[in-house]
Amino acid sequence: MTKEEIIEKVNPLLAEEFEVEESEITPDAVIKDALELDSLSLVDLVAVIEHTFKVKIPAADLPTVKTFEDLYNYIESHQA
């Protein structure tokens, strides 16, 4: 899956799961701010990515995934 395909797939999913406008999901936006993540909802993000792309984000890697651009790149580089 190309990065563009990942973006097309993941943005609407995250907008629906976290009940935010898709327009708020931009490459430079900070994920935890845009999705209003807390310690409980963080696991929802990991679950959505794991379920959709079969890409597991270990807790140790989460600090490196700050923006949506980071997330797209992470998914792209960890696809099976």
């Binding site: 310690s39 409980l40 696991v43 929802d44 990991v46 679950a47 794991e50 807790a59």
Partner: protein, 139 residues
Amino acid sequence: MLYMDEQIFKLMPQRDPIVMVDAIYDAEGDTAHTGLTVTERNYFIEEDGRMAEPGLIEHIAQSASAFKGHLALLAGQPLPIGYIGEVKKFHCYLRPAVGDTLTTTVTLGAEVNGVTLMTGETRCGDTLVADTQMKIFVE
């Protein structure tokens, strides 16, 4: 059958009258099947002889907790204590009655910093009784 009745006490801290799991039938990978026979002594039984909906939530949460306890036991780790962090998409289709035997499938999902996303589905025979997603915090 992996555990039944008081053997469950090895896996979780709850005791009568709040024990809501009395069997783990099997466990493989991320999934376990648990059970509960509903008795008159059940804490969540209401005047009409049926279980209140929170009893089903507690049953599913304890099923996950017992499963986590089983995994800890296998790994030689201390017994974990689990708390319900959040209940999502809970549906109760039928309140079970005294004498019913519930069978529940719990599947553990993503885990971040001790918070585990899990799904649970409870049946009585072939009839779907309840399903939900939960976040459980385990320490």
